[in-house]
Symmetry: C2
Subunit: 235 residues, 2 copies
């Protein structure tokens, strides 16, 4: 789109609506479907691992991997020798899913047992990120998605490491979120049963950090490690 006033702030990428297509539309329990970028970005930023689905000779593969997001771009990375990345960079269709489990939902009947969750499903095709500044920004996003604040403390990628890392980008355009929250929904007649029902909230909790056994004693633990809060990722 043309910028009428080049001094103006660019449109924030979350203002462009997500594409609700036949493949991205939530079919089962459609009221749980969400198509706004903020909801999708929040789930992506809180997650640590995505599941990448792709097809080789008719066979589906689902591979877990770390990821990063910068604005409306979703990045995955790895060795240029990776089967997954070698296939994806040819521009084949890909489906990437991020799932956060928020709780167990215990209903009065077996049938209505469920989980509370937030998930994002993203469709598209991946392209290699070759431009050095963009590639470095993607590598920063991977590290900062693991633990915010880390990038400024570490040895940044060398030229060889940059060359040994293949980064692929997927535009976040055709995506949807699916969310379940709240208590169980039981059949009307079952509410009278003397059965405990409710939710057990779950979260990814950090245990105290374990220093590398060979770490020198005089290196203090950084605040972003001591105070690490996985949900804080989303901020």
């Amino acid at each position: 789109m043309n910028q009428i006033n080049p001094q103006a702030q660019p449109e924030p990428p979350h203002s462009e609506p997500l594409l609700k297509t036949s493949r991205s539309k939530v079919r089962r329990v459609p009221k749980r479907g969400h198509y706004d970028r903020q909801q999708v970005y929040q789930i992506l930023d809180e997650g640590l691992v995505c599941h990448v689905g792709f097809v080789v000779d008719g066979q589906p593969f689902v591979i877990p991997t770390a990821y990063g997001r910068v604005e409306d771009q979703f990045y995955i990375h790895g060795s240029p020798a990776s089967r997954m990345l070698r296939n994806l960079q040819q521009g084949i269709p890909v489906c990437i899913t991020v799932t956060l489990i928020d709780g167990l939902v215990l209903a009065r009947s077996a049938f209505h047992h469920s989980m509370n969750y937030r998930s994002v499903v993203l469709f598209g095709t991946a392209t290699p990120v070759l431009e050095p500044d963009l590639k470095l920004a993607a590598l920063k996003a991977f590290t900062e998605n693991i633990i915010p604040g880390r990038w400024n403390d570490i040895r940044l990628p060398s030229r060889q490491e940059m060359a040994a890392t293949l980064v692929l980008a997927l535009p976040i355009a055709e995506a949807s979120a699916k969310v379940r929250t709240g208590p169980p929904k039981d059949d009307e007649a079952d509410y009278a049963l003397p059965i405990w029902a409710g939710e057990i909230p779950l979260r990814h909790s950090p245990a105290p950090a374990i220093p590398d056994p060979v770490l020198s004693d005089d290196i203090a633990i950084p605040a972003y490690v001591a105070g690490y809060n996985p949900v804080g990722d989303a901020m």
Copy 2:
């Protein structure tokens, strides 16, 4: 197989080796690959959600869903109207992945940042479970995989609910686990850098259970809810 002595214990299913095929073999960092059933079963029993990969008209889909395991059978279920289940029951190739995130691995260099994890990737084709006793055992496995001990307390599936639930089975035969544990591995020269390095262990921790807002006050919380321990799932 014929039982020569019908009184003898059947072979435990974990005695049959997993198939290490070109698709199930761990390619990247092969030393992290495991092919023994006990390792695979432990990861499956600790997980809550799997990611099911399948292909429709060349397009991959990756859908998160609950699951259950009984011996060497992996079960998923849902509405007979589910796009995923309707496709899978036609016997198309499927790839199912379960991933547990055990920790963040903070290295001295950006390049060596990683996560500790345990994952299982399972290949095969799914078939509907129609025999009522087997189907009920699978439904029990779903509930007990969410929270052990629950099945004995709840209203069991009615005939209508059984009919409204499609259960698919995948034999656990062609599968592999991939596991990373321990501290970061840095480049030799980087160990001298004054950078904190180590691991932040992560686990799925339960918060106190939230009773259904309409639950009668005189229904006590069961011990398996009050004492719920997600890692205990694996026992």
